[in-house]
């Protein structure tokens, strides 16, 4: 990696001699592997190596980014020329620029598993086959499968800027999923289950993942449509995470300063039920959303976004923070070919103290949501209307599956209407939530 750190330094030096006042370089190099098995044998297998380099330059308050996967001398010379040319063409933006100089901190968060290197292809295939088999063999009504997919990726990220900040870190992830199909009365239902981690050893057992996938597909058989109604709605942790993900998008500094978030201008205001606390924590060891430093070389941290219902912080990088007169929260992400932007790290709603069964039992008549589809989320207004699949709750018990319905509300009300919070928080991705109960939503059906 020293060679890439040197390369980054050379490019920045060259750009400076061409008149750039400051800039930074990101280099990402990595390998990825993907295998899909279907009906117990390999369907697709893919292996890859890739690298990319992105150069961002400032000419005073003007800026541009260029990137390439071609590291030849000729290509990189062209890259510097192109970036200078583009940057000189853009408008002067008073808020543009690198962060204030600060020394780079890069804690070892255990984000890379060395054992991924020696993992034999046969063993990976076997794991996927076992997981799918566990689903196929679970019940006679599991009649088909979209297969099981296992993939892992590892890469090294190098960052350098003209303040002399240089750093790099390795990062990896491994995941697999199973998608069985259940059939009854000639109608098919598909569902899936998965495990995603930084380390191979932390993955859930294939038998458990396959079995859960089968159970999830089976419980959707015989789905009914219900009449339009206003009822309490319980979100399982998967669908609750999607709701929480919408909050993450709406507290991004960019959405806020552009005024395209319903949470713009709400800092310090009550935006959720007082039981709701939402955090973003970038330094949880070996978690999928952790990173040792952000896309601008700033330290990542734990940020309380909503504390007891009060909106306490947005998620910010340097630019969006300057636009809002605030300070970066270390949430810059940098895709190699673009200017920095904001992303959450490990974004979650803090657990409450209700067991999930207890939450379901508290509902006399309502909906337990297990899947949402469609893109009916308007971040500007908070309007929320999505297709849903769920289980009908009658007298505190899960009864029959329901489908071809929508659930609708507005995120402002949804956050205020959170009535019970489960104790079942588990990080399965970069956004997590325990089971949530909303006092009411509109369910549209017949």
């Amino acid at each position: 990696m020293v060679q890439y750190e040197n390369l980054a330094g050379e490019l920045l030096k060259k750009a400076t001699t061409k008149g750039a006042s400051s800039g930074d370089v990101v280099i990402v190099e990595g390998d990825s592997f993907d295998v899909q098995v279907r009906l117990r044998s390999v369907d697709k297998l893919s292996n890859a190596h890739e690298k990319r380099l992105g150069l961002r330059l400032f000419f005073g308050q003007r800026t541009a980014v260029c990137s390439t996967s071609d590291f030849s001398r000729e290509s990189l010379d062209r890259l510097v020329e192109d970036t200078c040319h583009l940057a000189r063409s853009t408008a002067e933006d008073p808020h543009a620029g690198l962060p204030e100089p600060s020394p780079l901190v890069s804690p070892d968060l255990g984000l890379y598993d060395e054992s991924l290197h020696g993992w034999k292809i046969e063993d990976k295939i076997h794991l996927a086959v076992q997981a799918e088999a566990a689903a196929l063999d679970y019940d006679a009504r599991i009649t088909n499968s979209e297969g099981a997919n296992l993939s892992h990726a590892g890469r090294r990220v190098v960052y350098a800027n003209t303040h002399g900040v240089v750093g790099s870190y390795p990062v990896g992830s491994v995941s697999y999923s199973v998608s069985p199909i259940a059939t009854a009365d000639g109608l098919m239902q598909r569902d899936y289950w998965y495990s995603a981690k930084r380390r191979v050893k932390e993955l859930a057992a294939p038998e458990a993942v396959g079995r859960t996938a089968a159970q999830r597909a089976l419980r959707r058989l015989g789905g009914r449509k219900i009449s339009t109604c206003d009822v309490p709605v319980v979100f399982d942790p998967e669908t609750a995470s999607e709701l929480v993900g919408s909050i993450a998008a709406c507290v991004s500094g960019y959405a806020v300063y552009k005024g395209v978030s319903f949470l713009a201008g709400e800092l310090g205001q009550s935006v959720a039920a007082s039981s709701v606390t939402v955090l973003d924590d970038g330094v949880i060891p070996s978690a999928l959303g952790s990173r040792p430093f952000d896309g601008e070389g700033l330290a990542t941290r734990k940020t309380t976004v909503i504390r007891n219902g009060i909106l306490e912080s947005y998620l910010l990088d340097t630019y969006s923070a300057r636009k809002l007169g605030l300070r970066s929260t270390g949430n810059a992400v940098r895709s190699v070919g673009d200017v920095p932007s904001v992303s959450h790290t490990n974004f979650h709603l803090a657990p409450g103290n209700h067991r999930p069964e207890e939450i379901i039992r508290s509902v006399k008549r309502g909906l337990y949501v297990v899947e949402m589809i469609g893109f009916g989320v308007n971040h500007v207004t908070g309007d929320y209307s999505r297709g849903a699949v769920g289980l009908w709750i009658e007298n505190g018990e899960l009864t029959y599956p329901v489908e071809e319905i929508t659930i609708a509300g507005n995120l402002k009300e949804i956050l205020m209407n959170i009535e019970m919070i489960g104790n079942d928080l588990e990080f399965r991705g970069t956004v997590a939530s325990p089971t949530l109960k909303l006092s009411r939503m509109t369910v549209a059906g017949n």
């Binding site: 369907d43 339009t228 589809i373 071809e404 509109t442």
Partner: protein, 481 residues
């Protein structure tokens, strides 16, 4: 020999210091006794984007990407390897990895190849959009900003972006073809925010295709995109909450064709039908729509966003009839699924880039015009919804359930379009929804050229189209019961 091939082949051979024999040898190396088919996919792509917000073009980005993907197919199995360094050594390494799936260590002989390029060019361009100076694009965005703000003082924010792509591909196949193509693609998007008394609403519009930069300046196109975005934002200021429940829905012409894409198109892709995981499995020859409906997928319309001279496996694109007068006629196929199903490829094998394995995808999917007057269609509805623009949609291919969200919609009361409504979502069942189509308008329109379809993590540009249609009783998800 078609000029695209000559240009694309020369381009890659020269740039990476390769010769045709080396390509023939690599395809041969990916082939073994148990490998049915192998191909190489070379790609060199330049992307550029400028964007405006807060009255200034403060962002310009450009990227260059290159690489090669090597694929080996044995019956249902696919082995794939790719690299962003195009060298003989990497090609050989990739061929070895790809062949792994067949558990086969035999190596095939070089495969002689001949030109298989399409004898047509659906997107001849005078000047690549990337050769137009950055200043011209910046000026265009600045004009849009002024135009949008002039539309109405309640427009408080304007965001606009112009993106272009120039992609050169070369495909070498073990069935002896070498096929090249140069694929331009550009898109202009405008988003406006309108504000009034604390009420904030958004409107978006855009368009594009595989043409020259002048496309955006002709026929008042950029002005139209701008006005549409501003109009929609202002309109939504007075929109009521959407109704909830089952009602008759009239879809306007053009972009609402996304309904066909979600509800029908995906379910007719060959892979899901070969695996029998689609709600449309085994329905060929059976009625899946009302007799008024004829639906096609056509990758051969000049200049359209979803069009291609050849697909990403080198097969020339086609016009494929999916549904004819209500009867299911065909699937969309790539080479692998066509072969396994004993059908012919339809030119629908597409991939996002050299990093991806091709699969059956749509191109431009639309319903042919009927003979109803659009006004008569509206007049026929007592109480319903008129949806003229949509945000996005999604489908569960196995159960057939689909969802899409309206970004501009109105109530229909006693045969008249009345108040605008926001936040309406439509949900239905793919194999069932077109059976409920009771009127089809004579006003077929294709969308303006902004569609991107995602499947299995791969995004590809697509087009949709629709005449005005009436669907009896579909579920509308809103908040007003």
């Amino acid at each position: 020999m078609a000029k695209e091939l000559t240009k694309a082949e020369d381009f890659f051979l020269k740039k990476f210091n390769l010769n045709t024999l080396q390509l023939e040898q690599t395809v041969g190396k990916a082939l073994g006794k148990r490998i049915d088919y192998a191909d190489l996919y070379f790609e060199y792509r330049t992307n550029e984007s400028v964007s405006l917000e807060e009255g200034m073009v403060k962002k310009a980005v450009k990227s260059v990407g290159q690489g090669v993907g090597v694929r080996a197919v044995a019956e249902e199995k696919t082995g794939y390897a790719y690299s962003d360094e195009i060298t003989v050594k990497n090609l050989e390494e990739a061929a070895r990895t790809a062949r792994y799936i067949a558990d086969d260590s035999t190596v095939g002989k070089p495969v002689p190849v001949r030109s298989g390029s399409a004898q047509r060019d659906l997107y001849p361009i005078q000047t690549p959009v990337s050769d137009i100076t950055i200043q011209k694009k910046i000026d265009l965005l600045n004009r849009i900003d002024i135009l949008a703000r002039r539309y109405d003082p309640r427009i408080t924010k304007v965001m606009a972006s112009f993106s272009s792509e120039h992609k050169v591909i070369l495909i070498v196949t073990s069935d002896g073809m070498i096929v090249g193509d140069i694929q331009p693609l550009s898109r202009l998007n405008v988003t406006c925010i309108a504000e009034e008394n604390g009420n904030r609403q958004v409107g978006s519009f855009g368009g594009g295709g595989r043409g020259d930069y002048s496309f955006f300046l002709e026929n008042g196109r950029f002005e139209e995109y701008t006005k549409e975005a501003a109009r929609q934002a202002i309109l939504n200021l007075s929109a009521m909450d959407a109704p909830a429940g089952t009602m008759d829905v009239v879809l306007g012409p053009g972009w609402p064709g996304i309904l066909l894409h979600e509800a029908i198109g995906h379910g007719l892709e060959g892979d899901f039908n070969r695996k029998q995981t689609s709600a449309f499995t085994d329905l060929i020859g059976k009625p899946v729509a009302s007799e008024l409906c004829t639906v096609v997928d056509d990758g051969t319309i000049p200049g359209r966003r979803g069009s291609l001279n050849v697909d990403d496996e080198g097969t020339p694109t086609h016009r494929t009839v999916l549904i004819e007068k209500g009867i299911l006629k065909g699937y969309l196929q790539d080479k692998l699924n066509a072969k396994l199903m004993g059908m012919a490829p339809t030119g629908n094998g597409r991939r996002e880039s050299f990093m991806h394995i091709p699969m059956p995808r749509m191109t431009n999917t639309f319903m042919l015009a009927g003979d109803s007057d659009p006004d008569a269609i509206i007049r026929s509805v007592k109480n319903g919804l008129y949806a003229v623009s949509f945000g996005g949609g999604q489908v569960d291919i196995t159960s057939g359930k689909f969802v899409f969200s309206a970004s501009e919609a109105y109530r229909i009361e006693d045969g008249k379009v009345t108040v605008p409504v926001k936040g309406a979502t439509l949900i239905g069942n793919g194999p069932d929804v077109l059976k409920r189509v009771t009127m089809v308008g004579n006003d077929l329109k294709l969308d303006a050229g902004v569609g991107t379809c995602g499947k299995d993590g791969q995004s590809v540009p697509v087009g949709v189209g629709l005449p005005t249609i009436k669907i009896n009783s579909i579920t509308v998800g809103g908040t007003r019961g």
